[in-house]
């Protein structure tokens, strides 16, 4: 479910990042007020736990293996906000160190796996286990249902994000620029894979883990209750702000015309009524320097201008590569100097 970079448009990534910002902020505040300063080592170990869990290969009946996210278990034991923080950090380590999930798509990945998944699992578990004994069978059944639905819902969110791409971002000829599958293909595909394989795995693992804890370590299932909730912090304003952002963003995406941030100078004039002076200057200079990527006086026919493009591009590439190389040489020389003087 880790979406790599390149599948989602930068606009979508920005929106998902913006949606996650208040969630992260609230989770830090919330965890800080409920678990005190203790939360730094706790979160660190929780994140490490979630990272390691994602590497467990769980055998499934057909002989192959699948892996669980473990987000449901974390949410049930430490509460959903702490789980959000832990999984976010596990995802950050995966994206930065192992290339699992994109850097731009980090917000989207966190939304699906660190927000939708733990919250869904947690509240389903909570509702199903109200007034139940620690040892009651309702607990692990609820764990299964929570884990199953949580991961399926997260997958459906990923499917929606991917499926919106061809509808929102395509060329005039209808060629999709990012993920090519529309909603009616992306969502069922994601949902099906998780309904049949990943969902049961997450569910069974969560249920078995809870069952085991009931026997061997029942206090773990009560950690969340021990923490006294604090009312020092109000979230109302934050959630209103987030709701407004959430409502406004799709409007911006659906607006016709060029993609956000991709306007030419003329379009900007139409939109703003004026062209920022700096931009106008820049665009003038740019043209003067590159002459539309052609060679002056060599743009009579299609063939000539095509060659012009290619020559300009080749010259540009060679220049860029050379400068890259020079930077390497100079920095390397300086480094060796520094070593010698030591």
């Amino acid at each position: 479910m880790h979406i790599p970079d390149g599948y989602l448009s930068p606009q979508t990534c920005a929106v998902m990042g913006a949606v996650m910002l208040p969630v992260w902020w609230t989770s830090v505040k919330k965890v800080q007020t409920t678990i005190n300063k203790k939360y730094v080592p706790l979160m660190a170990l929780g994140a490490a736990f979630s990272f390691v869990i994602m590497m467990y290969n769980v055998p499934i009946p057909d002989g192959t293996t699948a892996h669980a996210v473990g987000g449901s278990l974390l949410a049930i034991i430490f509460g959903p906000w702490a789980a959000t923080l832990c999984i976010t950090i596990a995802l950050a380590i995966q994206a930065l160190l192992f290339g699992d999930g994109g850097i731009l798509a980090f917000g989207a990945n966190c939304f699906n796996m660190a927000f939708v998944l733990p919250f869904t699992s947690y509240y389903i578990y909570k509702i199903l286990t109200t007034n139940s004994e620690i040892t009651s069978a309702r607990r692990y059944v609820a764990g299964f249902i929570g884990g199953y639905i949580g991961i399926v819902l997260a997958a459906i969110c990923a499917g929606i994000e991917l499926g919106l791409q061809p509808l929102l971002f395509h060329t005039a000829a209808g060629v999709p620029l990012y993920c090519p599958y529309p909603l009616n293909l992306a969502v069922p595909a994601m949902a099906f894979a998780h309904l049949t394989v990943a969902g049961p795995v997450e569910g069974v693992i969560t249920a078995l883990a809870i069952k085991y804890l009931q026997v061997s370590n029942p206090e773990m299932l009560n950690i969340e209750k021990i923490k006294a909730p604090s009312k020092a912090f109000s979230y109302a304003k934050l959630w209103i702000g987030m709701a407004i952002v959430a409502i406004l963003t799709p409007l911006g995406l659906l607006a016709s015309g060029s993609a956000w941030g991709e306007w030419g100078a003329d379009e900007l004039k139409e939109k703003l009524g004026f062209v920022p002076e700096g931009l106008e200057k820049m665009s003038d200079k740019w043209h003067a320097l590159m002459q539309d990527y052609g060679i002056p006086g060599f743009d009579q026919s299609f063939f000539q201008s095509a060659i012009g493009y290619i020559v300009a591009a080749v010259v540009g590439i060679i220049l860029i590569s050379l400068i890259t190389y020079l930077f390497g040489k100079i920095l390397k020389g300086k480094d060796e100097e520094a070593h010698e003087t030591k």
């Binding site: 790599p4 970079d5 390149g6 930068p10 830090v28 300063k37 730094v40 080592p41 706790l42 979160m43 660190a44 170990l45 929780g46 994140a47 490490a48 736990f49 390691v52 869990i53 590497m55 467990y56 290969n57 055998p59 034991i77 596990a90 380590i93 994206a95 930065l96 160190l97 850097i103 731009l104 061809p166 000829a173 209808g174 060629v175 999709p176 620029l177 990012y178 090519p180 293909l185 693992i205 883990a209 085991y212 804890l213 061997s216 773990m220 950690i223 991709e262 539309d292 990527y293 591009a313 590439i317 860029i320 590569s321 890259t324 930077f327 390497g328 920095l331 390397k332 300086k334 060796e336």
Partner: protein, 286 residues
Amino acid sequence: MEKTINELNNVMKEEFIAGKIASRHGLLQSLDPRINIISTLLLIITANFIHQPVILLFFNIWVIWLAKVSLVPIKSFLKRVWLIVPLFTVIMVIPSIFSPFLPGEPLLVLFYLPHPVQFLFWQIPQVISITKQGIFAAIVLVLRVGICVSLSLLLTLTTKWSLLLKALSKIGIPPIFISILEMAHRYIYLLLQTTVDMFIAKKSRTVGRTTTGEQRQFLSNSMSILLGKSYFMSNEVYSAMTSRGYNGKALVLTEFKVKLFDWLWLIFIIIVCLFFIGGDRLFVWK
């Protein structure tokens, strides 16, 4: 179980190799880590705005060149970039080049159905063909994913993890996040080791075959044990930290200094971005 043990060992091995490359004296290693992060981000954003395959191809070649100048072993770099993620991308986009998934101008007609078929909420057209639009979209996606994967791999290969984290905290990521990230990174190896030990202990005591159900039972039990151990250890670590004077604030020892070359490099990267975006707007593939 064996698969998991192997995977865990691989993770530790990869991290070791990455550490070795990061201490070489190449181009990106010599830059200020903050500049490295910002330029990587700029380049990834640029790559996502580019829609022309030719430009994306040039971009890819330049990134490989960048890796070469940074003394990253090219063979294993290419293997890691092009065998894992884009291969997955290629498999994923193959259906999209056919007309049932992405309707468009037919490039190569495969066969005709007697009539269009409606399958749930998915329409299969009468003509099954490979479409121009499909090929275009597939090429763009694979090339772009390649660039993004190369760039992020390059960033982490050329920057030491500790420096990377410190740089992140300098560019506005909350310090709390960074210190949790830093500690989590270390505990991962501890927990990985613990897991490997548990698994090997179990394996050495197992005679004969175990059923899928038994294996699952063992896995979920070790998961719960690991969770219990983590919770117990976090309390221990917290006591250790407070007894050493921890008050909730993290201190960073290394000071970064941006040199002239770093600024020049950043300006150069901005020019590169403009060059590729400009090329993308002008060089239209039809």
